[in-house]
Amino acid sequence: MITANINGIPVHVRKGTSILEAARKININIPALCKHPDLDATAACGICVVKNNGGGKLLRSCCTPLEAGMNIVTHDDELQEIRKTVLELILSNHPEDCLQCARNNNCELQKMAADFGIRSNPLHRINKGIAPDISTKSINLVPDKCILCGRCINVCQNIQNVWALSFLERGIKTRISAAGDINLADSPCIKCGQCSAHCPTGAIAEYDETSRTWKALYDTEKYCVVQIAPAVRVAIGEAFGYPEGENLTGKLYAALRKLGFKAVFDTSFGADLTVMEEATEFAQRFVNKTGPLPLITSCCPSWVDFMEKYYSDMIEHFSTAKSPQSMVGVLSKTYYAQENKIDPAKMFMVSVMPCTAKKYEITRSEDMFASGYQDIDVSLTTRELARMIKQAGINFEGLPAEEPDHILGDYTGAGVIFGATGGVMEAALRTAHFFVTGENAGIMDFESVRGLKGVKETTVDIAGNKIKVAIAHGIGNVEYVLNKIQQARDEKKELPYHFVEVMACPGGCVGGGGQPYGVTDRLRVSRAKGLYLDDIKQDYHYAHENPYIKKVYDDFLGKPLSEKSHKLLHTVYTPRPLYRR
């Protein structure tokens, strides 16, 4: 521990704590634009400068550790003036189009300009004039709005290890771009959207599909149905001033009906179904050796894309089960349409996801058209849905809690925890245990699969079988797990794992790239907690106990891994080039 002074107040912090963090501890906020709690400081913006011992060279508080005996001044007239001028400089190189911006009212730069009371900018306008990149239909890159804080690149290269984004050129011409100045769609981008989640401005945002959704909703010919993913319910509240992690499932159903959806489904039902298929797959591979182990989960589209590009030799390890979104999608246009005598051609299926990659998943391969139509027509992010609710003039707070539509809306606690890292594994193990032993697990140590540790490794005992599992979230953490598998495979050694769960986004879907802005670990934990509470609240905690799942199998699919479920609920993977030229 070290002791120093900030604005005359003594502070005691651990060695290595930055001046910025130390100041926060004593309730002094030093403004900063480029620093994000998830990321190492890059010292790019120059706003967070402070004085030590009355002057000399200014220090960047974001990346300078507090040292014993320092006398830091965070605010005085000179610092205020410098910060304001730097902010004016940044604004002079940023388009003045806040009103038409994806981040209007939700932008860190805008907020800072407001806080500093910028009323006019005497500086020259320096426009960048770089064309946006909308090639992915998942994420829009608008370099003109970029302030070059470097967060997106930091996330993409260092946290996600994808290397789709980079800086190009230098000086005033510096810009963000996909690798090698190609289109983002041709780059290794896996559409995880972590760049957009960390962007302080509107430079990277989701590809907006709200107008297409509105058009469908107002089209009397169309029969619009919707599904919401687990992670959405515990995050949407942030857009309406609710406490972090509050579960708003009922209000969401109500809001979706108010928007004009004829039926409201829940992706958690799809999650239950995924568990059924995946756990069966696992049990078969484990017991009957029908396929290679470890089995690796495949419900995260960014992860699937990453594997197809970077680790295509792992394809055989992938669960062929589609993601919960896709399962609900295909069943709505087959089973649900059949049961309710709706022409699937007129059905318009919208999914609300915490995710930008789900926009990509809905046309990923021909398997996404298993119903004979595009199974899911539009995939919206949590952020887009929040905007739609506001646009529709719905008083979200005043809405009563409603129930979803049967059957595709009924879920168990196992399905809803899919939204947090470790959730898929936990849900699958609960059911796998049943499949192997014929009875539900009593007290099982599932705690070891929860939480924000980058890679979680544990062994689960199912009827004397030691099942070794690994859970990785954040693509940057995957390498460790995969290398271990590859090494064992190459050296023909015992497999390190039997079952592996991977989620591309840190924290899993609760920390997804399509969630409300401002994600931090604290928020990830709160959102996940909301999901685990939902699990407790549910009548059923095992996917196989979901009466409606049983019904779907009885009525329609037969049993897990049946021919029909193979046709509708499973997919294949193909190696893809890292770069398309």
């Binding site: 984004l165 190009l168 230098r170 690798a179 090698g180 780059s187």
Partner: protein, 295 residues
């Protein structure tokens, strides 16, 4: 996988023959009857080799679309075979342009059609071979530097020395061989002024705009060169002969103002002797009449 070959040729008989012959050698043939179509197709198909006939050039045309095709081929590492008709009036600068088309190209004269047909496979192979050579060259470089840390910039230097720039295709090969993200490679290439992403002209003119040179009027030298050659900084003359760039101090301040052509340094420059120096590199008489590079 079958190699894709794009034949850009309007002579249907010829194109047909070429196609027939090549398909029997297990190539997939695509044809384009106009340069415009050729340009569209090369972008869309990304063929392994492109055959471009110059027989479709109309008198007085500038051959810009041909250039686009060849440039695209060059940038993307697609070898090109150029078929010349018997007598050809080259549009201004095209010949020189062809000479410097990146990723070396085979040029074949269409004297006798028969000869061409019997040679076409050989030509195609040769072009493919040259492409392979590039890959091997890069592999060698990578091998040489593999064990040294921080090697990327040094390898890029060697590549630029070899090719005059860093071709896109080479950057892709490099990413693969070095196991470095393409993002990193382009981050570096575009950060450093020294590296070029496009082929420069045959001769590189560098005008020093260091302080000493600037004060002694290198700005005027630069203006004069631009004026004579009708190019801007960072551009190549239309005939592909000169590439003009500005540098910040060559360290020859004692001789200010200074310019270099390729490796040769010219000191104590005056506006008047610019034309004399450039004439040494231009075709005889082209610069002295002052018309060659005017708009």
């Amino acid at each position: 996988m079958k190699h894709k070959i794009l034949v850009v040729e309007s002579d249907v008989t010829f194109a047909g023959k070429a196609a027939e012959l090549l398909s029997s050698y297990n190539y997939s043939i695509y044809t384009a009857g106009t340069y415009k179509e050729g340009f569209e197709k090369i972008k869309k198909l990304a063929p392994d080799i492109v055959l471009v006939s110059l027989g479709m050039l109309r008198p007085g045309s500038r051959g810009d679309t041909v250039k686009s095709i060849l440039q695209y081929a060059g940038i993307n590492g697609i070898p090109a075979v150029i078929i010349l008709p018997e007598a050809i009036q080259f549009p201004e600068g095209l010949e020189a342009f062809i000479e410097k088309v990146p990723l070396k190209t085979v040029v074949f004269k269409k004297d006798v059609e028969q000869v061409l047909v019997s040679n076409i496979k050989h030509l195609v192979q040769q072009a493919g071979e040259k492409h392979r050579q590039v890959i091997e060259e890069v592999a060698l470089l990578v091998e040489k530097w593999k064990d040294k840390e921080g090697n990327l910039i040094m390898i890029l230097h060697e590549i630029q020395k070899e090719f005059g720039y860093v071709p896109r295709s080479v950057a892709f090969i490099l990413a693969q061989r070095l196991d470095i993200a393409l993002a990193r490679i382009y981050e570096v290439i575009t950060f450093y002024n020294f590296f070029r992403l496009e082929a420069p002209g045959k001769h590189i003119i560098s005008v020093c705009l260091g302080t000493a040179c600037y004060l002694k009027g290198s700005g005027k030298i630069l203006e004069e060169i631009k004026n004579i050659l009708n190019v801007e900084e960072g551009q190549t003359t239309r005939d592909g002969l000169f590439y003009l760039q500005v540098v910040r101090c060559l360290g020859c301040c004692g001789l200010a103002p200074v310019m270099t052509v390729d490796d040769k340094v010219y000191g104590n420059m005056t506006r008047e002797n610019v034309v004399n120096i450039l004439s040494k590199y231009a075709k005889k008489g082209e610069l002295s009449n002052g018309k060659a590079y005017k708009k």
